[in-house]
């Protein structure tokens, strides 16, 4: 087994090597620097040179509202960046060159419009630029993609059209508004989390309203703290943390182990084997109100577990003592000192 020191050396070595290779390879070379432009242009039907571009100011003449919304977004800011000077910017980076559209008197067939495109086509257009970021790499294999939920179902490329602030519940932060911007404003989301997610996953609203819950409606947590809406290799698009650990241990660090005596589900099945992470009426957000029921569902077939003799024993369910399993097995997440999780 590699020692910690070796691991450090290998990781730092790989990091340095990567940096050196990157510097030596001249990734600022024209070939790859212009790659973005070529890819962006590739969404166009035919014309792949830049001669057909007219600039966003031309679009403004007819699409004043859209231009105004767009000009306040991060997308519009790209035109100020040195690395984007030679690339297609503004409206035409997504809608393609507008010359024919303008000369055709606003002919809708001569411009790329997303109104009648399906979610995957729209997403492919966005991924032209947004693929390659670690968090977006699996979008094409994610649950949202699979179910035809595309980028513009949650984001708005022209910038969010926010309503005016209205009073809401005291305990749940409201949606982003003109007067009360939130993270959603910067992320160009149509709504704030969790309202955006709940608008489809409506059953989670009930789960987060249970007596014991993660504070998602209260705003302390966000859906994206645990889930990656852009896809991932994990089931339910959950995130990993601290390397390859489940996202739960990012905050619940005392449960991360490793323990000398592991309770198998902790690492293999994950916390959701026993807990309902969105919310529950049961203490500790357990799946069942009585701990014994939860334990039975795995430990049902073990003949020496529930009773150790015809006259009864420590696990006889006729005794209240043994009905609360974790009173004795209190270190149920794993123990360093007791193989039956007593301490």
């Amino acid at each position: 087994m590699a020692s910690t020191k070796t691991i450090k050396v290998v990781l730092l070595g790989a990091f340095t090597l990567f940096l050196a290779v990157w510097l030596a390879s001249g990734t600022y070379s024209k070939m790859f620097d212009t790659g973005k432009t070529v890819e962006a242009l590739s969404v166009l039907p035919d014309d792949k040179d830049k001669t057909g571009f007219v600039g966003s100011e031309t679009c403004q003449a007819c699409h004043e509202d859209a231009f105004k919304e767009f000009s306040g977004t991060k997308h519009a800011k790209l035109s100020e960046l040195k690395g984007w000077k030679d690339k297609v910017q503004g409206c035409e980076s997504c809608h393609g060159p507008g010359k024919d559209h303008v000369e055709g008197g606003g002919d809708k067939t001569k411009i790329i419009s997303f109104k009648n495109k399906n979610a995957k086509e729209i997403s492919e257009s966005c991924l032209t630029c947004h693929a390659g970021k670690e968090s977006h790499n699996n979008f094409r294999r994610g649950d949202h993609w699979r179910n035809n939920v595309g980028c513009t179902d949650c984001h708005t490329a022209h910038g969010p059209q926010l309503a005016s602030f209205k009073p809401g519940s005291i305990i749940t932060p409201g949606e982003a508004t003109r007067e009360n911007p939130t993270d959603a404003t910067l992320a160009m989301l149509k709504k704030s989390e969790p309202q955006l997610c709940i608008s489809c996953h409506s059953e989670t609203k009930a789960q987060f309203s249970k007596p014991f819950r993660h504070k998602v409606l209260e705003g302390t947590m966000k859906c994206s703290d645990c889930h990656n809406s852009h896809g991932g290799f994990e089931p339910k698009q959950t995130k990993l943390t601290v390397g390859a650990d489940a996202s739960c241990v990012k905050c619940h660090s005392d449960k991360q182990g490793p323990f000398v005596f592991e309770h198998a589900p902790l690492k293999v099945e994950g916390c959701s084997a026993c807990h309902t992470p969105h919310g529950s009426a049961n203490p500790k957000m357990l799946k069942r109100p009585q701990v014994r029921q939860l334990c039975f569902e795995c430990h049902s077939g073990i003949t020496d577990q529930l009773s150790d003799g015809p006259t009864g024993g420590p696990h006889s369910q006729t005794s209240i003592r043994s009905q609360n399993c974790t009173v004795c097995h209190s270190a149920i997440h794993g123990s360093n000192t007791s193989r039956v999780f007593f301490r």
Partner: protein, 707 residues
């Protein structure tokens, strides 16, 4: 009404002060309103909206901000511990949902192009957060997220009220990204912290009895991470390194504890446990991605992490054992360590056969090895009940465990967009998993039998799952999603066979102008056949199964016909039945069942309106009713029927009045009511409560931007 604020030692005077503060603030605000109303106004008051003026600071920054600060009163009738375990809203000053956005509207980039601070909940709330995002386009982006959760748990129906907590969890994350918009080169640096402190109780077992002992919780982590992203030979690459240090210095103690069984002789006079744990995690993560000719998308990821922890356990007990011997000292000294290296590799490929037909494959390899051991030493010094001497007993042994886990999983799927209004997908997942547990228990002198007991267990399994789904768009504004997943779950451990499961989801979203209507149905059927064990002695034979059936139906509407009126409401029903075979001792060992029922109805609505220019109102209601097992009762001693019937409802109303163009006064009231049926394993009566939470606040607006 009996006002009951806090039964954990806070002075009632302090609570009265909070209420007094609330009353004074409310009075002052009413007075302010009254004075404002009485002030002669020579000219009509300007319409307070829309607020779209621009505040310019430092030449070129727009500021958009609203900050709400107020005070809340709380009165709780009934079980305050249950109220605090569920909600824990406290009286006092509170920072409401507030934000501050500063944006550079100049074309020229500045040191700060945007700064967003959002915050909510601090002080009188059980949870609060402050998030800060600062960015200079193209140069850097900094995000921080600092949060606090005050966790309280004191419940009759869990572990005989033995696992309680009153802790404060502070945690935060800080991430700095340099050149965030540069595809060729980006740098990332980050850090984080977790700290949990407070008091609690935990149970421990000694001399055939169990005891709740107090704990002084103190654990936490420190995280550091760094990464570099770039583009090389057309590949998007990302390399990250992270380090976590964690520690747990929780201390446990109790005095004069009779244990749960107060009739036996076992008792603890003194108990102290010091159990310091520390450790580190280091990990490296490498990502690679490229899309070839807009046809082939390729993503790879490799993660290697290694966690190690060291611990020392020192416990001393005095008292009496269950044979009425006096325990002068029972000392445990246990040391050891454990480590867990883990390797994970993932590969995802998508090939676009045509613009409407794609085939994807995701492959995952996961492997970890948990190894740990301890050296156990117990020294037990006892005397007889009458004080006569007894020989001390020394127990020493070594234990070691190794868990090897290895899993391959591959999912292949195809998605086909037949028409713009119809798409479907189908897939197949195969997984192969192997788990090997090895170890030994080795008695050490003074034991006479030093035979080492070896432990070896191995489990292999293979699972197959079918995935299918479709999206149908019958009308322009109506979308139906459906998907199904059926097969064997790869998530059951060694002692059980695989879950056979079928999950079905159906969703419909319909929106027309400002009206949206969603319905969804989710069904989950899990069948766990369990491995049968050979009957021994009088034990019943045969397989022991565990089945779970869950049905969730949800409907949701959102209606905003005009900007001054909005309504949303929903209903969710969850129907869950779990049944498992068990062995029950009714004099003889018989085969029995344990059944659990949930029949949970949840309904809510939120309504807001602006009937007058200066006045807005909000009303919300949430109702939760789990009918549990209903009329079902156990027909025989060998059949256990359990559920948790309860009702929880919250009602809330709020009125906001604009005092000036930039100041708004809010007054509101929240009610929480809770009723439950006594639980079979509860040690007390029903934990019913009701709470009244009036509040008042001021919201200050700055700017409004040009959006």
């Amino acid at each position: 009404m009996a006002y009951k604020f806090n039964e954990r030692g806070k002075s009632p005077i302090k609570n009265n002060i909070s209420f007094l503060l609330f009353a004074v603030t409310a009075s002052l605000l009413f007075a302010a309103i009254g004075l404002q109303a009485q002030t002669p106004t020579p000219t009509p008051t300007p319409t307070p909206e829309p607020r779209n003026e621009t505040i310019t600071w430092f030449g070129g920054y727009n500021v958009t901000s609203s900050v709400e600060v107020g005070v809340r009163g709380v009165s709780v009738g009934g079980n305050d511990n249950k109220y605090r375990s569920d909600f824990n809203y406290r009286p006092g000053v509170r920072l409401f949902d507030s934000s501050f956005l500063l944006e550079n509207k100049d074309k020229k980039s500045r040191a700060i192009d945007s700064l967003l601070v959002t915050t909510s909940g601090w002080n009188a709330d059980p949870s609060g957060f402050t998030r800060i995002s600062v960015e200079r386009a193209g140069f850097y982006r900094f995000d921080s997220n600092v949060r606090q959760v005050v966790y309280f748990n004191n419940l009759n129906n869990h572990t005989r009220n033995g696992h309680n907590a009153d802790t404060r969890h502070n945690f935060g994350d800080f991430d700095l990204s340099l050149y965030p918009n540069n595809d060729n080169f980006r740098l990332r640096f980050g850090g984080g912290f977790n700290s949990t402190k407070g008091s609690g109780t935990i149970t421990t077992r000694a001399y055939s009895d169990e005891y709740p002992v107090d704990s002084r919780v103190n654990n936490g982590t420190t995280d550091l991470r760094a990464g570099i992203d770039g583009k090389l030979l057309g590949f998007n690459l990302s390399l990250s390194y992270g380090y976590r240090r964690f520690k747990d210095n929780t201390f446990y103690s109790t005095l004069g504890n009779l244990g749960y069984n107060t009739t036996n002789t076992a008792r603890i006079a003194t108990f102290e446990r010091q159990y310091p744990i520390k450790g580190t995690t280091q990990y490296g993560l490498f990502n690679i991605q490229r899309t070839f000719a807009k046809k082939l998308d390729f993503t790879g990821r490799v993660i290697y992490s290694s966690t190690d922890r060291q611990f020392e356990f020192l416990e001393t007990i005095t008292g009496r054992d269950n044979s009425n011997n006096q325990v002068d000292l029972d000392r445990f000294n246990i040391r050891g360590d454990s480590k867990r290296p883990q390797t994970r590799a993932d590969l995802g490929i998508t090939y676009a056969v045509t613009n409407n037909f794609r085939i994807s494959n995701s492959f995952t390899y996961d492997s970890f090895n948990i190894s740990g051991g301890n050296a156990f030493a117990e020294a037990l010094y006892t005397r007889t009940a009458a004080g006569g001497s007894r020989n001390p007993v020394f127990t020493n042994n070594l234990s070691h465990r190794v868990t090897d886990f290895e899993r391959f999983m591959n999912t292949i799927e195809a998605d086909f967009q037949v028409k713009d209004w119809l798409g479907f997908n189908i897939g197949y997942r195969y997984a192969k998993r192997k788990i090997v547990i090895q170890g030994f228990n080795q008695p050490l002198p003074p034991a006479t039998n030093l035979t080492r007991t070896l432990i070896e267990e191995e489990e292999d399994n293979q699972t197959n799952t079918i995935i299918a789904g479709m999206k149908l768009k019958p009308l322009k504004n109506w979308v139906i999603f459906a998907d199904v997943e059926s097969g064997d779950a790869d998530n059951a451990f060694t002692r059980l066979a695989n879950y056979k499961f079928t999950n079905l989801r159906l969703r419909s979203r319909w929106s027309f102008n400002q009206f949206a209507f969603n319905i969804s149905a989710i069904t989950k059927d899990n069948e766990n056949p369990s491995t049968s064990t050979a009957p021994a002695g009088n034990y019943p034979s045969g397989d022991f199964i565990a089945n779970t059936k869950s049905r969730i139906f949800s409907a949701y509407i959102d209606w905003t016909p005009i900007s001054k009126f909005s309504f949303s409401g929903g209903y969710t029903y969850q129907h869950l039945t779990a049944e498992t075979d068990i062995v029950i001792n009714t004099g003889t060992l018989v085969r029995g069942f344990s059944r659990f029922y949930m029949r949970d109805h949840n309904a809510f609505f939120n309504f807001s309106a602006q009937p007058f220019k200066r006045v807005s109102i909000f009303a919300g209601y949430n109702y939760n009713n789990d009918r549990g097992q209903g009329d079902r009762i156990s027909p025989a001693p060998a059949i256990l029927v359990t559920s948790y019937p309860f009702r929880l409802f919250t009602a809330e109303t709020r009125i906001a009045m604009k005092l000036t163009r930039n100041i708004e006064w809010n007054v509101g009231y929240q009610y929480i009511g809770y009723n439950e049926r006594i639980q079979p394993l509860s040690v007390g009566g029903p934990q019913d409560y009701h709470a009244n939470l009036p509040y008042t606040s001021l919201r200050f607006y700055f700017g409004g931007g040009e959006r």
